[in-house]
Symmetry: C2
């Protein structure tokens, strides 16, 4: 298989991005935060490439966002994130609200100063975690009661409390509270499943209306606010919900409730049908995806942003992902293997360290392992997206996407979609 | 307390050292490995500053060596070690012989390529670990039988097996096998304790004689070989053993069996009496020390090199050490503390991160914590020694040492001497 060394399929994912030292808050001469410049649209697919302006500079899309739940991508420093091509770091308002506390992050200067990442930051509300961690106690139209997964203490989350936490924490993009139902419908009948989806959707709408009313009062002017479309893989519900939320005062829309257990072809079909219907003039974000294959499908459907724990969590579990496929570094065959993870990879880890050394660090539980493995995997995910971004801008997305699809056919699939905290 | 901001007591520990990119193997124009240039000797004390040439460039002494038992200083990359002032990394031939195996390190290009540290590396034999890990099975004049602490499997270590492992691993400085008895004499009477010390000393001599015979056959020409003086805190035995070993074919001598449980004043008295008697034309190394106070005493006594797990192990346990003393980052008072660990510290961690963020990373068990804490502590230890090195070379060691002693009186002592694997 030679496609992976094709220069059209490889690039430095940090190329063309401002350096870490150049990152910083919005400048008076920058376009207003929230401005979306559409730089290119593919003729044959819905793929597009944009520049989204935030309170901490631009984001070149399509863009994969690494997950730094607690205000840190485990083991990796901000300047290293930038070196492997990260543009936006995703943190979680729920986790930060409990540890160290949203007010405390505010007191020490906000999340950018706290974690020393001067570029764009997005926070999820934590609603997904409250629903998925089975800590849910009671849900009503005003909010949700839950027990924290830290110490089981009771807490409540409302559209207002989420925005207030995000105002203290200070991210550039704030996700509002949504109701994300389980992906498998809990073994229910079709009708029952649809009722569950509809209930979650309607409650999400109520919460979105509340958030749209409150955001101008609670958030800073330069904090963007995104709403989350629900509806599972039911295209009718998705279209209806999209239309409802698109009419409200938000800077961008996300698709939630995907990659939560549904069959992958259904998920891709939903992306293909729904993403192109999302407002053209606002950023489109799909939450919690995905595999290289998911990213290819999402970009083709016109999605601008995605986040996923796969590169970082898989790295910690020993899984190294590259154009060659995925392998587990603990495998004994790497003991004497002095080659890098992927000999054709341009990442700082492959430039310096062997599979044998990474295996050695993993066996000894050295924190260096997590760091190096995460950097490698993130570089690959960023490169995978950057190659497509370049292709869209250069007008040859169709050919590049087809070649990337052939790479995927030739390699081991890097696992099914998964989403959670990192 | 204002002394810690006195410019005479602070410096960048990497200043004056070759950059990471400049490190590499011995060049034909460099002095022969083993050459010791004595650059300055203090008039009032035995303190001295030298330049020791190795197979991977010079070492400016006095020099503190971080411990990277398995071929990695946990969480910290080689270029970061250099940035905080590391010159020599200490690894352990025993650990590397079992994981991943000395031959395997050789197969992937040797320890320098394996860990990507192109500067000087010293390996301890692991004799200390075999004796201290209570894995000892049987000791005789030819070697020692033990059970590995990895899986309890039986193994044997001899003067030859240690040198052979070091030949495969490929460090620049090879410690030979010695017999290090327990520091407290196991509650024995004075006479019994002396008998234990004498037995260990005599066996160490036999092993040293064997190593001196074998080293030219087994090691590369550019690998230096150091012997280890025993004798506990018994000055008569120490002097006798020093004289015996100084007559053999070694490039340097070390004092072993210190900081193994004996009272600190006795340890300092031993250093004061014995170090000045060590051959002037060879490097002097004290193994397994120490605290800032130990380092001050050792440098005053004319020691050139030391290693200790304190900065790295204490860091992992939450202990951050600086001119301000030592504190535990888990303390609740740091939750809202947006100051760096030491506001007057020049290290890359204090330049970027707050106590609140380090505490947050520690609470969440993020590998970043180990990395940042270790870098800070190592910077402090290297700075502590670099300030004394500069003073010796500038001819004002007496005044600087007195001022550093006052700093120590004013601050919390960073723990008693301890030594082990990192």
């Amino acid at each position: 298989m030679t496609t992976s060394s094709d220069p059209e399929l490889r690039c430095d994912p940090a190329e063309g991005l401002a350096s870490f030292a150049e990152l910083g808050p919005h400048r008076p001469t920058d376009p207003r935060p929230g401005t979306l410049e559409i730089l290119a649209e593919d003729r044959e697919t819905s793929a597009r490439s944009c520049r989204l302006w935030t309170g901490h500079g631009p984001v070149e899309t399509p863009c994969f966002m690494p997950v730094g739940t607690y205000g840190a991508v485990k083991g990796v420093l901000p300047d290293e994130l930038r070196a492997v091509g990260s543009q936006v770091v995703l943190a979680n308002a729920y986790h930060l609200s409990h540890r160290p506390g949203a007010e405390r992050v505010g007191e020490v200067g906000g999340i950018h100063a706290f974690m020393h990442w001067p570029g764009p930051i997005l926070t999820d509300s934590g609603g997904y975690q409250v629903f998925s961690l089975r800590s849910l106690q009671k849900i009503d139209d005003a909010g949700v009661d839950y027990r924290t997964h830290f110490d089981g203490s009771p807490a409540r989350m409302t559209p207002r409390s989420v925005l207030e936490a995000e105002a203290s924490i200070g991210p550039d993009i704030c996700m509002i509270l949504d109701h994300c139902p389980p992906g498998d419908g809990g073994g229910a009948s079709d009708a029952a499943r649809r009722a569950i989806l509809r209930e979650a959707m309607d409650r999400t709408t109520l919460w979105a209306q509340e958030a749209a009313r409150l955001r101008r009062e609670i958030l800073r002017d330069d904090q963007l606010c995104f709403a989350i479309v629900q509806g599972g893989t039911d295209l009718e519900l998705r279209r209806e919900h999209l239309e409802t939320l698109a009419a409200l005062d938000f800077d961008g829309l996300a698709l939630g409730g995907l990659s939560v257990g549904e069959p992958i072809p259904q998920m891709h079909a939903t992306l293909e049908a729904i993403a192109p219907l999302m407002p053209r003039d606002k950023p489109r974000y799909v939450m919690g995806i995905g595999t290289p294959s998911d990213l290819l499908a999402a970009i083709r459907a016109g999605v601008d942003m995605f986040d996923c724990v796969i590169p970082s969590r898989h790295a910690r579990n020993g899984q190294l992902i590259s154009f060659l496929g995925r392998f587990n570094i603990r495998n004994g065959r790497f003991r004497r293997d002095d080659r890098p993870v992927d000999p054709s990879c341009g990442c700082p880890v492959c430039a310096r360290f062997s599979r044998a050394y990474l295996r050695h660090l993993h066996v000894h539980n050295d924190p260096l392992y997590v760091r190096l493995a995460t950097m490698h995997n993130l570089y690959f995910f960023h490169e995978w997206v950057a190659v497509q971004r370049r292709a869209i801008r250069q007008g040859n997305f169709g050919a590049v996407a087809a070649a990337l699809a052939r790479v995927l056919e030739d390699r081991t699939q890097p696992g099914k979609g998964s989403k959670s905290t990192s």
